[in-house]
């Protein structure tokens, strides 16, 4: 009888040694615990330090309510505009060839590559009372900087690539055959858009909206520059948190922070479930593209 040679437990040739695996997993989990779990727990413990009554009192405070209202209003304006721009830009880029297409693709990314503070400064320089345009508007009784319109403008600027960046690859992957098919079958332009184009990109669009909403509500830098921090008027939630913190009202600051944290968690859950729906569309379209190429 042939003797089996003694050997170590079998391991596929590409697997790493156990020590490496454990070290990598421990490092990754350690980072997550240190930078995510502990801070999140800290936010809620600090917020509830003075009891649940104080927590709710901090949230229903008139200034807090004003900040929440302004934040919601800003998001309510920024998100629909973002969606409109996103659909228009992604449609144009995915369907047509036109001069300046590459430039447009690059320009869409500018808000990502510019520091939000610079973006805010830009609006102050352009629309502040000392600037010609801002001065002219001020003469006509329109205040932009240190007022709500400035906050909305700055938020739109920092969020505008979000929906477009999600939609462009999906629109390109889905292609225009289904749209052509609908036209040949007798659909008009709007019928094609609402019955074929939009349903095909809806999960990607929703995903873009979730990201845009999170950014619109959480933006600090750009908004801080144009806001002027007028309590009860031009404070959004993140700005209000800073003010409370600087006033040593830690429990209140953390109470408002906890709302933003909850928003972040909700966003994560929405993002995760939407990603699962977006991925198959991209995959299917990719498979088709491979077939066409073959």
């Amino acid at each position: 009888m042939a003797r089996q040679p003694q050997s170590e437990p079998k391991r596929p040739g590409t697997a790493d040694p156990p020590a490496v695996r454990i070290a990598l997993i421990a490092t990754a989990l350690g980072f997550v615990a240190l930078f995510i779990f502990i801070p999140v727990i800290a936010v809620f413990t600090e917020a509830l330090r003075n009891g649940i009554g104080a927590y709710f009192a901090a949230i229903v405070d008139p200034e807090a309510r004003a900040a929440i209202r302004l934040t919601l209003m800003t998001a309510a304006i920024a998100v629909p505009l973002n969606v409109t721009f996103g659909i228009a830009a992604s449609w144009a880029i995915a369907r047509f060839d036109f001069p300046g297409k590459q430039t447009l693709l690059t320009l869409i990314d500018i808000p990502f590559s510019v520091s939000p503070v610079i973006a805010g400064m830009l609006f102050v320089l352009l629309l502040g009372v000392r600037a010609p345009l801002g001065g002219w508007l001020a003469d006509h009784g329109i205040r932009i900087i240190f007022a709500e319109p400035g906050i909305v403008l700055a938020t739109i600027f920092v969020t505008f690539p979000l929906a477009a960046r999600e939609l462009i690859p999906i629109m390109q992957a889905v292609g225009s055959e289904e749209e052509e098919a609908s036209i040949v079958l007798g659909a008009g332009g709007w019928q094609m858009f609402f019955r074929v184009t939009l349903p095909n990109v809806k999960w990607g669009l929703l995903y873009g909206m979730v990201l845009c909403n999170a950014r619109a509500m959480g933006e600090f830098g750009a908004v801080s520059v144009v806001s002027g921090h007028i309590r009860g008027h031009t404070n959004t939630m993140p700005l209000y948190v800073e003010i409370l913190y600087n006033d040593y009202q830690f429990a209140a600051a953390f109470a408002v922070s906890s709302l933003l944290t909850l928003l972040a968690i909700a966003t994560l859950i929405a993002k995760y479930s939407l990603e699962r729906r977006v991925a198959p569309v991209k995959q299917e379209a990719d498979d088709l593209a491979i077939k066409v190429a073959a």
Binding site: E178, E180, G186, A187, R195, V196
Partner: protein, 356 residues
């Protein structure tokens, strides 16, 4: 509805996709546009549908200029190569789409739409799949749903872009026969694009052979196969061996040997020039002994006995590879083996001569 194309041209940048094409298609015909990819056949189909606008020329439907008629009003049905089914709709909704987008005043009511969809599903033998989504169907089923969806709007013309291109061989055969029967039943003017000569020969009443944006020949399967207008058509319709030689004072030379061949269908007859001899693999005979100037020597390189015919690959004396198909009986009788020196006798060939 008849279709008439007059002097149609279309360029994409510098690339001439369709070059001054004239074509008349009779009511009720089933026409194949046959060509390699890039020959302009799909562009021509899309021009008929109105999905592309020609740079010049006109498209006439039933004798009337259709240039100003919008795609959605042309009453054409277009079946896309990859079906383009609406992926977020069920099979039922896909087929109902064309009826649902009719303006409300003329739109049939829900009961009529449902009845019509089920009629069509029966016609394509897929009644049991009404509630499925396209991603849950096989390629052949998707193809038939795409056809049913197109027929739902009662088009006057049916245009199909590589209708069987993405299917495997067996399903393709089946669907081909099925489409033939369907066309016999509903007699709708149909044009389909294909790069598969067998498909065109089997299915179409008339075949339009296209090459580099131009029409090389129009004719029935019989005409284009047995009476090709030129070397391209002969070459394209089936396997063929090419022998490059020359013609001197009416005598054909392959390499250094003069050959005298029977049954030569020559196209153009200059006395001197470059000659290309085309012989189909099944029209070459393998013999063991030379027979004057009607045979030329060759060496057997490989033998593939799988299939209805035995495929033999040889090298001619002057170095060209030659493919020959012989029957299994003949193969047995010859006792062929790799490396054997034999002689080839063309039974029938086409000679195309070009002026130098």
């Amino acid at each position: 509805m008849s279709i008439e194309l007059r002097n149609i041209s279309k360029k994409f940048g510098d690339f001439v996709a369709v070059d001054n094409i004239n074509l008349h298609i009779e009511t009720g015909e089933l026409v194949a546009l046959l060509g390699l990819s890039g020959s302009g056949k799909t562009t021509l189909l899309r021009i008929i549908a109105g999905l592309e606008t020609p740079d010049s020329g006109e498209v006439l439907f039933h004798g009337e200029d259709a240039s100003a008629v919008k795609v959605r009003e042309r009453k054409v049905g277009f079946v896309f190569q990859h079906y383009a089914l609406f992926r977020h709709m069920t099979v039922f909704e896909n087929i109902a789409f064309g009826m649902r987008v009719i303006p409300r005043r003329e739109r049939p009511d829900e009961a009529v739409i449902a009845r019509r969809v089920h009629e069509l599903l029966k016609l394509v033998q897929l009644d049991f799949l009404a509630d499925r989504y396209p991603s849950q169907l096989s390629g052949g089923q998707r193809q038939r749903v795409a056809l049913a969806r197109t027929l739902a709007v009662e088009p006057k013309v049916l245009l199909l872009d590589e209708p069987f291109g993405a299917l495997d061989a067996k399903v393709r055969q089946e669907l081909r026969r099925w489409l033939r029967r369907l066309h016999d039943e509903i007699k709708i003017t149909s044009v389909f694009v294909t790069h598969d000569q067998e498909e065109a020969l089997e299915l179409a009443n008339r075949i339009v052979v296209m090459n580099q944006g131009r029409i090389e020949q129009i004719g029935s399967a019989e005409e284009v196969y047995h009476h090709p207008a030129n070397a391209f058509v002969y070459n394209f319709l089936g396997n063929v061996n090419l022998f490059h030689g020359r013609i001197e004072n009416g005598r054909v030379f392959l390499g250094d040997t003069a050959v005298e061949l029977e049954n030569t269908h020559a196209h153009a007859h200059p006395e001197t020039g470059k000659a290309v001899l085309y012989v189909r693999p099944h029209l070459l005979e393998i013999v063991m002994k030379p027979n004057g100037k009607q045979t030329f020597p060759a060496t057997v390189k490989s033998i593939n006995p799988a299939g209805p015919q035995v495929k033999v690959e040889l090298v001619a004396e002057w170095g060209d590879m030659v493919q020959v198909e012989i029957s299994h009986e003949r193969y047995q009788a010859l006792h062929l083996a790799t490396g054997a020196n034999v002689f080839l006798r063309p039974k029938e060939q086409k000679l195309f001569v070009y002026q130098i």
